[in-house]
Subunit: 301 residues, 2 copies
């Protein structure tokens, strides 16, 4: 490899993928972009990508690695198997799967990739688009030593922190899912607490101040219940994302034969909010399942 | 009042009450102590109390205020009505009720106190014994202006922060209870997440590190799941405290006609842990309701 730059194709140029691809360019990797959105391709091309394409046909055989930043296991399968990217890359190419998917999906996708002599890293990410843009995502990764070694240049480019979870494919997915389980329960618990406070005629800014200065606080309470105080449900992350992620928590628990008490309840709360028409609102809108309470309105509304 | 020091009787010299009484002495209040534990009385006497007693008979008519730091509504009633402290103090005395009790209990106790021309402050506290010892408790208080004015010297002595919740008795209790609801749900959610990680063979120290550095964190996760990592269930706060407090959450929600999704589930989890024999262990022992997972053992065991 000495003297030859690592080349990577980033698939999925949404807010996370675009940030990761820019970080790869900035780190000096030969970076290619694949997306069906031609506008995103143009943006990445102008940012210095070596090549962009809706299919990857033009450069698939050139790349050392592929970074998948699509949103679901379905999209991962679409890209790799239906659109056949897995057939087009060279044997031995490292495939970093960074969608939030279930452990079962990760294992299944890996076995299909292994048939084609491709090396998978089960590597969900977190940190949001802001962190992706500056190459400081958090990666929770599981895979072989070979997968880690081959993807090291990409990990160096996109991540501030890489948690090496283990060698078994599915463990990265599981860590991400357990994290999402806590995140989802904490948002729903925050909503339950704030709605109960409203029902009891406790000023919500007061309960917010008490909780955020005390042992009842959570990262999600502090971040998301601010949206409730402001009456602003402009989505940063949507209710339907937690319908999906808590669905994955449920799938994972099923495959582990593990009982979920709180996460299953939170899943029902987000699903109820989605069915009430709030699926595309900020995830804090899960509070709207509580009827008969008066919540703050957005200023100017 | 000019020239005459405020005098206060602190009832309940457990870890919180002893700390609060010491803080009153340090602030120059004439401080009396009431407890059935003669050892605690001796300690407070040596610390500079003006008087100590198991009944308060000797000094009840001297005090300007009473601070109740007992553990339950039942004990509040015992002290004030069965043992008749409310008969012994002068009319107009301010009674600061700082036990964690339901809003209904606070309202009921207030109406009995009002019959005797006593002025109640509904004033639950938090912060633990460490904060009590240095006069830096957090107080969530509701009551009349008169109650706040009369108790100002005591609040100044014992609290770093006083949240003035409103004038209606019961609102202080409700704020504390909503806080406890979040605290309890977060401990139970942390336990569910750690147990699921154990079932999935994810190293628990790794999931702890990922969560505490990410958006899935909570104050309780960070504090209590450390006990799980250490396999050390020496009680700082016991499982049975959350059986009690989440029971109060349930009572409060009932009186508000408010549906509890997550808090009711967490209540069942702590109750199950208590019934499995873990009631006197650290509240993180709620994780022991998850069977078939291997948890860390305490070093040396």
């Amino acid at each position: 490899m000495h003297g030859k730059k690592h080349s990577v194709a980033v698939v999925g140029l949404g807010s996370m993928g675009m940030g990761a691809a820019r970080s790869c360019i900035r780190s000096g990797l030969e970076t290619y972009g694949i997306d069906i959105n031609s506008k995103a391709l143009k943006v990445l091309s102008e940012a210095g990508a070596r090549g962009v394409s809706s299919s990857g046909d033009e450069f698939s055989r050139e790349v050392d690695s592929v970074l998948l930043l699509v949103v679901s296991a379905k999209q991962v399968r679409q890209v790799l198997f239906e659109n056949a990217l897995a057939e087009k890359v060279r044997p031995g190419t490292a495939i970093m799967v960074s969608a939030t998917i279930s452990a079962q999906d990760a294992i299944d996708i890996n076995s299909h990739l292994a048939e084609k002599d491709l090396i998978m890293l089960d590597a969900p990410v977190s940190g949001g688009s802001a962190k992706a843009n500056i190459g400081e995502m958090t990666v929770m990764a599981a895979g072989s030593d070979e997968a880690f070694t081959k993807l090291q240049p990409v990990l160096d480019a996109v991540a501030a922190k890489v948690y090496r979870v283990g060698s078994e494919i599915g463990m990265g997915a599981t860590v991400k899912i357990i994290h999402q389980m806590l995140a989802g329960v904490h948002i729903a618990a925050g909503a339950e607490a704030m709605a109960m406070a409203a029902k009891a005629n406790i000023p919500l800014d007061l309960i917010y101040e008490v909780v955020t200065n005390a042992a009842g606080n959570s990262w999600m309470f502090e971040n998301r219940m601010k949206h409730v105080l402001d009456g602003d449900y402009t989505p940063q992350s949507m209710v339907d994302i937690f319908v999906k992620d808590l669905g994955l928590v449920t799938d994972t628990a099923q495959s582990l034969n593990f009982p979920l008490y709180l996460a299953s309840t939170a899943y029902q709360m987000f699903t109820a909010a989605s069915n009430a028409g709030h699926g595309m609102e900020d995830d804090s809108a899960v509070i709207k399942i509580f009827q008969g309470v008066e919540l703050p309105k957005k200023k100017g509304d």
